[in-house]
Symmetry: C2
Subunit: 285 residues, 2 copies
């Protein structure tokens, strides 16, 4: 195919999108743009991208498809940079973990181009970041959620859907608000808990001793606390209201557990643990 | 060797101890005892144990080494059952995740046998339980902490140390109180957080939707919430005071994160996430 793909933000997500589409033979040229020149040079020399653009406005010139894969806090600035330079036929999509705020800034910035914007969120990733973490198989078998708008063109939606399927992903659709609520619960809140826990460990006088004896439960529970601080700052702020509601919901259950422990109420503790355990054991992925 | 080993509680930990010592050729006979006849029959038919004893007092008759691998809440009852029946030369050890309370009940129950009791805690395990989860390699390369008492005989300590080394484990020594503080921080608290989070998910009206979109971060963060509810009820109660102190410490950091989010303070959020991330990335196991 002869698609010219522009990736704004050549990190784990954007770089893997490029590599997966190259693997599928779907792109002729990948133009990469980002804040770190060293990262772009790495991506160029390792075949993740074919051309470096030094500004988002240049990156999108002549592009057929534009993927925004920057931390969500930068989406507004990048849209402002590119809006006047998008080719009329170009399809624009993104990979941000929150959707309502992205839709809001897209409506404010894109004007007549909004029907060709298809908001998206690939449910993939690792705690690693940067182009060096990108992998052609990152999206194999993973879910990608698209949250099209009432005015989204069917052709644009189908094009983005087909690209993700070419990446090996399974595509689903949700409303932006429904998306943000579900991911606040299953992703954003666990990240906040893991970060706060790890911050507590970091602040301890006996940190070295604790880390020396930390084992597999610690390893898995804290894996996500190694995620990009900037990316998660942006996600937390972008989805603040929904996330605060989920935090309140968690705290109700946390306080119930704490009170049962304070009261030495073994039956109440066991009931909490059993409900949690049964739900977790029934979940399979 | 001609060691007769009695395992009280033939689950993941006790069963793996038997299998590892069999692999090492260190035991002649393994006697198993436990609450579930079906579990013991499974263990017998799969070679985890060689003999079923129907009561702890019978299990320890003629034993050279006795391993208590029951939920910590049962240690007192089992010690009461076996104390009068332990052969004078038998070495007694345990695998409980808390040590101060085990030491306290051992002092109350064992009388003259206390010098031959070596409290222990293998830092291994999975979220699975029961004899069917036992594996000969569970302890390969894992840490085992022994918390000997002032009156513990050197010979008994060396014998238990040698058995764990034969299981492939690395043996370290700590004070019981120091042990309990470290594991409240690196193990017990994460289990409480994961259980409370999972209990919150379990209670949701949109639980099925959430679980459908839950991915790898959820998977790892909640793995430990599938652990045995009874075992963790006992651990939480056994280490209650230390665990409550750790909960308070966590809540200070949690509230700081929550307040930063409420205030839309991106710099404070990023500082928390960065401290957590750096500490987690520096940790390797």
């Amino acid at each position: 195919m002869n698609i010219r793909l522009a990736i704004i933000g050549v990190g784990l997500m954007g770089g893997s999108f490029a590599l997966a589409l190259k693997r599928a033979g779907k792109v002729a040229t990948v133009v990469g743009c980002g804040r770190s020149r060293a990262n772009l040079e790495w991506a160029l020399s390792h075949g993740v991208i074919d051309v470096i653009a030094d500004h988002p406005a240049h990156a999108v010139q002549g592009a057929d498809v534009v993927m925004l894969a920057v931390p969500v806090g930068q989406v507004d600035d990048v849209l402002a940079d590119i809006a006047a330079h998008l080719p009329a036929h170009a399809v624009l999509t993104d990979a941000a973990s929150t959707k309502q705020n992205v839709v809001a800034v897209a409506r404010a910035r894109l004007g007549a181009h909004i029907p060709r914007f298809v908001p998206g969120h690939p449910i993939a990733g690792t705690e690693h970041s940067g182009a060096a973490a990108a992998r052609a198989d990152l999206y194999d078998g993973r879910r990608v959620i698209l949250t099209p708008l009432p005015e989204t063109e069917t052709a644009a939606l189908q094009e983005v859907r087909a690209l993700w399927q070419a990446c090996g992903a399974q595509v689903a659709e949700m409303e932006p608000a429904g998306h943000d609520a579900v991911f606040a619960a299953v992703s954003h809140l666990p990240h906040m808990l893991s970060y706060a826990y790890m911050d507590m460990i970091a602040a301890r006088a006996d940190r070295a001793l604790c880390l020396d004896y930390a084992a597999s439960s610690f390893r898995d529970f804290t894996r996500i606390a190694a995620s990009s601080a900037e990316m998660w700052r942006d996600i937390a702020l972008a989805n603040r209201d929904v996330l605060l509601a989920e935090i309140g919901r968690f705290e109700d259950h946390w306080q119930a557990l704490r009170k049962a422990l304070e009261a030495c109420d073994g039956a109440a503790l066991e009931a909490i643990f059993t409900r949690a355990r049964n739900t977790r054991k029934d979940w399979s992925q």
